[in-house]
Symmetry: D2
Subunit: 436 residues, 4 copies
Amino acid sequence: MIERYALSPMKDLWTLEAQYTRWLEVEVAALAALEELGRVPAGVSEGVRKKAKIDVQKIQGLEKEVGHDLVAFLWALEEEIGTEGRWLHFGLTSSDVKDTALSLILRDALEIILRKTRALKATLASLSLAYKETPILGRTHGQWAEPTTFGHKLLVWYDELLRVEARLQRAQHTISVGKLSGAVGTHAYFPPEAEEKALRSLGLKPCAVASQVISRDRHAEVVFALASCASFVEKVALEVRNLSRAEVGELEEGRPEGSSAMPHKRNPILSERLCGLARLARAAVGPLLESNALWHERDMSHSSVERIILPQVFLLVDYMLDRVDKLLRELQVFPDRMRERLSEALGLPFSEGLLLALVQAGMARREAHVLVADLSREAIQRGVPLCELARQNPRVRAYLSEEEIKAVFDLNAMLKRVAVSFDRVFHSRYNSCCDH
Amino acid sequence: MIERYALSPMKDLWTLEAQYTRWLEVEVAALAALEELGRVPAGVSEGVRKKAKIDVQKIQGLEKEVGHDLVAFLWALEEEIGTEGRWLHFGLTSSDVKDTALSLILRDALEIILRKTRALKATLASLSLAYKETPILGRTHGQWAEPTTFGHKLLVWYDELLRVEARLQRAQHTISVGKLSGAVGTHAYFPPEAEEKALRSLGLKPCAVASQVISRDRHAEVVFALASCASFVEKVALEVRNLSRAEVGELEEGRPEGSSAMPHKRNPILSERLCGLARLARAAVGPLLESNALWHERDMSHSSVERIILPQVFLLVDYMLDRVDKLLRELQVFPDRMRERLSEALGLPFSEGLLLALVQAGMARREAHVLVADLSREAIQRGVPLCELARQNPRVRAYLSEEEIKAVFDLNAMLKRVAVSFDRVFHSRYNSCCDH
Amino acid sequence: MIERYALSPMKDLWTLEAQYTRWLEVEVAALAALEELGRVPAGVSEGVRKKAKIDVQKIQGLEKEVGHDLVAFLWALEEEIGTEGRWLHFGLTSSDVKDTALSLILRDALEIILRKTRALKATLASLSLAYKETPILGRTHGQWAEPTTFGHKLLVWYDELLRVEARLQRAQHTISVGKLSGAVGTHAYFPPEAEEKALRSLGLKPCAVASQVISRDRHAEVVFALASCASFVEKVALEVRNLSRAEVGELEEGRPEGSSAMPHKRNPILSERLCGLARLARAAVGPLLESNALWHERDMSHSSVERIILPQVFLLVDYMLDRVDKLLRELQVFPDRMRERLSEALGLPFSEGLLLALVQAGMARREAHVLVADLSREAIQRGVPLCELARQNPRVRAYLSEEEIKAVFDLNAMLKRVAVSFDRVFHSRYNSCCDH
Amino acid sequence: MIERYALSPMKDLWTLEAQYTRWLEVEVAALAALEELGRVPAGVSEGVRKKAKIDVQKIQGLEKEVGHDLVAFLWALEEEIGTEGRWLHFGLTSSDVKDTALSLILRDALEIILRKTRALKATLASLSLAYKETPILGRTHGQWAEPTTFGHKLLVWYDELLRVEARLQRAQHTISVGKLSGAVGTHAYFPPEAEEKALRSLGLKPCAVASQVISRDRHAEVVFALASCASFVEKVALEVRNLSRAEVGELEEGRPEGSSAMPHKRNPILSERLCGLARLARAAVGPLLESNALWHERDMSHSSVERIILPQVFLLVDYMLDRVDKLLRELQVFPDRMRERLSEALGLPFSEGLLLALVQAGMARREAHVLVADLSREAIQRGVPLCELARQNPRVRAYLSEEEIKAVFDLNAMLKRVAVSFDRVFHSRYNSCCDH
């Protein structure tokens, strides 16, 4: 059923054919390096490169016979290549080829992901600037808090995305390694110089040291970076769902879904779907971490885990990034509804301002807190704005003039420093003092 | 029951008193910064610093009354400080104080962890050098593979620990941020300049932008770094368990545990315990990732999660590092048993060498593979060394001389390149070409 | 920090002293059974019972010396009891005692949990009946759906709680087993008859067969039952949060929390806390399942996992049940706001009725669906009730009379079958045809 | 990549075509029930049944247009059926159809699983009886413990499988429910009598009460039962891996895998693969539990989770059961190696017997424990059997005669009660006193 969430070019990286092609690339690179060092007769690697052809069905047939996928792959090639084919895999073990090929796939898959995070950054940057000064009620605990701007929300996401991107880049660096050091990592039959040459030609670095396999802590880091990316998408999607609620109505998906029963429905199902997919991405971290500690120089228990989970989590996160970008680009934003909600809040979002004005004027904080809380409750019960009640309250008036009270409820004053966050995020002079 | 696994100084960071002390630190730093900017009367911060005293029981008593821990904390302080106390918390929201204080705790807790990873690195470096040339059977799939050295195993761990350390350091950087920007992150009542000053005095940087809280993707990164550390410890412990098995006997814990029933037992229970604890550390990543996407400017659902999981995972990983270091330092290593096991393996660990010698001499790889596999099976069934069978086999002898066969089974030749991995790991000139 | 969430009597089950007391209970029961079978001199078990005293500090001191908790426990007892003490633990292994004692604790802990689910059932039953006919907008995808009653929501929870309770009861049955069959489960030195007698006296059954330990699939089932209970509490708490949102306002926690900064706040933090705790309970299932497959007759890796996770998950779920019951009992319900929201919905919650009336009258479903969707959109855009628009629409009127249209928008008609669900849940004659 | 692990008939249950077929089944059953109650003209259901054809591509094309899978499904059918088609879905909402259809799939999928657990039970029963008296060293903590029989190990698994089967059966019961009660579960437009009739015809029971959807606690129970099954398979596979270790050699997979590099290898990769897959099955429980608490009457976040995870976990567990059965049936068992290992253990597996004999003869337990531990250490260090050392030790001889010492080391005596466990498991008279 994952077909539904599989996009090109990501899905093309994970086909059997693509995998065999990577294996061949690694085998040929290894041969070429041995040849350069004079360990294999000149011309062999070129000959292999020319004659080798990937025949998926033939390999799968042989695999059924011999019960080992890489041995089947080698036999299929050897048949086609003829006598020179015997040099294939010289001094290597299956994991040398498979793990190095997997690194190539993961590196390229992360490149696709990073291309999408870059696009998403552009979307978020431009949206956040467009709505930089659009007032909206901030909400905490599902309750009215203080005013903010819709652009500020978007900026918070942009800023998190910078960290997600950094994690993905580090993960890409971490996984851009290969390993051609033989059955237990001792380079018994494959010299380190050849390993370095071959991997350099593939754009990888050698692991400084390895057992039979590349250590799985690297793969776990990759999956965590993806899970962190998924968690970011979830955050955006959850907010879209919350602001699209019928009673809030400040946002609407570009193409909300109807219902088979209720023709009036406009459901934010894309956002809901993204929230669900984040759960799956999260759940991939555990099995990867479980697959790090293997027996001795390696056991195979990690293999089936990776075969299923790695393509899955890459496909899902790739899909999520694609869709969240679309979600944001097509998002319907209703600034009027945002202002409306703000004005329905009876001035309560300014209660802290009143408290602080009283404190500044000399009232004890605790006393001021209780007083403003009482007035707020009254505002809700009677449906009278807090500003009005404050003006009428003798204890407030003992400290504050009408002018001072009015100043407390000034929306523009409250939002004037939002610009600072934008400066911090987008302008370099702030980048040294702040952290993304 | 966690008491059993709680060590000082880590556990002292997480007491209620330590938490309140951090809160006070943040409140005072904020006051001092406001004062410097002329927003609070001169001398207030100094006055507060002098008069403020943390009275845990009083705060807890007030919390029961008011139902809010930070409000209770403020009321308790205000009572003691008197009229100047009203300036406390000016322009701040609870999360400003709590999240910033939590960052201080996490930063310091990571410092303790990093001190232990440094110690562990020293232990592993010295052990790996001590056993650099001690031969041992490499094993894959629980089966004999090819020879390696015990030092090489230790070097693989050392190398992974470098990556774990890097993750912990990055996580420490990621979490060394504070946030004093008010109820919804707009700096409505607390100016950004004061935020920067106050946080600088605490050794933190401000988040470039924030909602009510510091984004939880940062905390999730911290916990993943810890889980990755725990997974590393598990890897070491699992190998100790495997090499301590009665039938292998190449290692023994320094102080194996007996049994209440069977007086002969010497169980590697420390290693087993470490494997168990890794499962718990792993399981902490999920709840943290789940707690990243909050409603609007924040909801409280992350709070109970962190209150329990954060101290727990820090205590456990701190304990694990402590104990794995002890485990390694006190480990009983039996090089004689290692050599014994190698010599019992009937030369099978050299089968690849024989295969490659035949290929080099011109035999097709597939043919050579099948031939050596047959000889290996015969070796096991008849209990005759592979070397012997090879010497007697006419098909082998058609390609290889007695001398060449003998060379295949030379242990020293197989291990001669192990030194390269040590050079790569420990000497800088390799660090540019390899990756840890 | 878990202290904050630990309630009596649950927490008293998990103290060290309580644990040692259970161990002693098991040892004495075993002795008594052996005595009854004539394998131990008469009077020994009575003597031991009288002289044995649990001295926690002494045991812990001895544990540091000998490095084994149960051996330390035995030595401490033997010292106090004197020569008869040598019969203690006769033919048993540590796991016999510890695992059987753990079963006793788990059985009793589940009893406490079940007492709370029973109380919660009573709360939900009475609330659901009280609000059986209180209309409220049903919402799907955060959007207005069709009307339901608040009691119907509560009934859905009650019904789920029945399944949770059944899972807990089955788990209690599953874990009410002991095991006194020695080091590898062969009864080598402890006869099966004695096992049966001893366990019967403790209210347990013997495992039909065992390795050194009681199989951990049983413990995993217990923890899943608890996680399922936590997930149920989360469902209730999430709904309370959603219906308490400022824009909805149909519910409010009995004692919402204020804010240190914003005096007007009334935050549903108890519900939020419960949602957070559910994440932790969920995360306990994985480590338990990981701890089922042990090496051979057992390894110790499960032990540290259980020592931490079992008390934790029991304490949390116990706390959650306690608090959700309180949450529900003190919940402020605002039927007027519920009606208000319904009436603000412009008749859209009846759109399916209109669709079906058209179909019934002969219009093709697809055509009717598109038509009603268009009218609904118009209703929202123009702020005109759907009923009105339908009456004015010629295509509608070609199929439906004014009377028929009016009938579609009859709230009472829509809710008339809610009673059936109540009958099904509460009356036995339906229980055979339905499933809870 | 999951294709590799997908077997028929399980995989056929999860195709798109199969899913649409189930939807149609539910729609037709609903129509027939309405018809029976006179709510839909006679003959409609029969007409629909005859004319309806599933055209996957057409539906998918319409889905792209309308953005709703079930609406597309209805439109496609309506086109084919003509005017009677308008009665399809009368009074239903999408979830009525999808959730009920999903229950049918899950019920049938569990039936396939249960067929395999039955086959596996037969395999384990016959193997356990075949090796009932085959002695093997029991091992705890990876160390020699006491003798047991290979059949006893198999019996422990058989017994756990009984509990797994019970969980699967209960889960099947739990999920054999449907729900045809409309958009918010109030039966507003679909009468409860029709629901009961329709579901009965499908072999399901109605949920006593429901929101828009069948509560996801039911689905979570299903997935836990599968995870518990996977954990059982892991236990078996882990033991096969451990007993197949080169140094143990008591078992070998029927068709161990070779290595591309090392021709001598015979790797237990099937067991390793099964261990890996168990990690994935486990990881499915979390996302399901996360998807239980939905917003109000439902949100869609569970949908993408289930679409991916449900087929995946069923396919994996189905595959695992298939392969573990094959693994066991083809397993190579080497009783001679088992005896050999036992005899190499220097009599240490009998140390508890010696301890108990001394206690029985009057020595204090602590003293006896220390004495036998010392002798055991000496046995290992000197390579002399414990029996011999005991005979020569004056402190032992002060309590025990040569005859009595000899009796301690009698293998048959130690194993004589293994039969009791078999009786308990296989014979009903024990089933009342024991628990599986």
